[in-house]
Assembly symmetry: C2
Homo-oligomer: 214 residues x 2
Amino acid sequence: MDSAVCLHVAHAEGFAIHAISFRYGQRHALEIDAARRVSGSLPGVEWMLVDVPLDRFGGSALTDRDLRPSREGGGREIPLTYVPARNTVFLSLALAWAETLAARDLFIGVNAVDYSGYPDCRPEYIAAFEVLANLATRAGVTGSSFRIRAPLQHLSKAQIILKGRELGVDFALTRSCYDPDLQDRACGVCDACRLRLAGFAAAGLVDPISYVDH
Amino acid sequence: MDSAVCLHVAHAEGFAIHAISFRYGQRHALEIDAARRVSGSLPGVEWMLVDVPLDRFGGSALTDRDLRPSREGGGREIPLTYVPARNTVFLSLALAWAETLAARDLFIGVNAVDYSGYPDCRPEYIAAFEVLANLATRAGVTGSSFRIRAPLQHLSKAQIILKGRELGVDFALTRSCYDPDLQDRACGVCDACRLRLAGFAAAGLVDPISYVDH
């Protein structure tokens, strides 16, 4: 959902869009089909799917069958669903593509409000990656700088949903649920579902996707 | 060769070593077999090979059949063999593994002297990655910091070779040549071969590998 709104923000700003999704061993790989549908819903978007096997390293409930992401509660400082260095790997690969395209604006749908437990969603992390990107590449030598854009960074989930509605995002195409086994419905109880449902409730809107009846 | 010496430096410092190599679509994939042999030559080294398809993005003579890396000469500021964002992708994946291992020292064999044309070999780049690593991960929250170690950074190729000899590196196991078609010999004329041969000459040593007779 955040990625979909982020894509529409970039589109509304008039960018020619090259979208990138990652098959990284996530158990909830259905999000890849959703990303393809969302990208296909906007004219002129080039979409690339890249394989990067973060499940080889383990350490996250999102890639490891023995760790369960559902209903973990709020006690822990960093959620079990944190995937080590995931956003750094994703941004690095996006940077590689951007450099070959001569693109300079990298958009990422991170959000520091609802997911404050993820270190790689913090504003200071995004700022540090921008510094790195400009040292890592030809940009650092030629002086044409990369910008890492995180337009949802300071929005609540409800604000993200309202912005998405304003920009014409079809939320029925999106998927948030971490449950790998549900095809056409969402579980409604994992962290991602609970944040999504609370966001729609706070925005005063109805989530168009289907949930398992509990 | 640089990676082999870097590995031996870490080993000599007493680290338990988890080595990582990347199959990134490099045409000279024979270096992967060499990495495996070099890692296997030290007791207790765990070696992992990770696939990451940088050739999907193009833009480098090392991954693209239509660009030739050989004998490009010294005119250009950044060599054709530069692979966009490669070291950032490699370090990011190493960081992901390190975080799950609770390792804190990441070694990389970059060198700012002979390869000064590569932006992601510069000391300021390495320093920026260290800052990023500590914001990107649990380390940033718990205060147990990552260190990015680049022990060859300020050495000439000759000094790297002399350090390798001192540490017992078997240079016959290593491979530098960019030519993808030569199995048991090196071409002797690509940038990597020329730097290697000049390094051995400056060190007053004989390179134990075989070269094509020109």
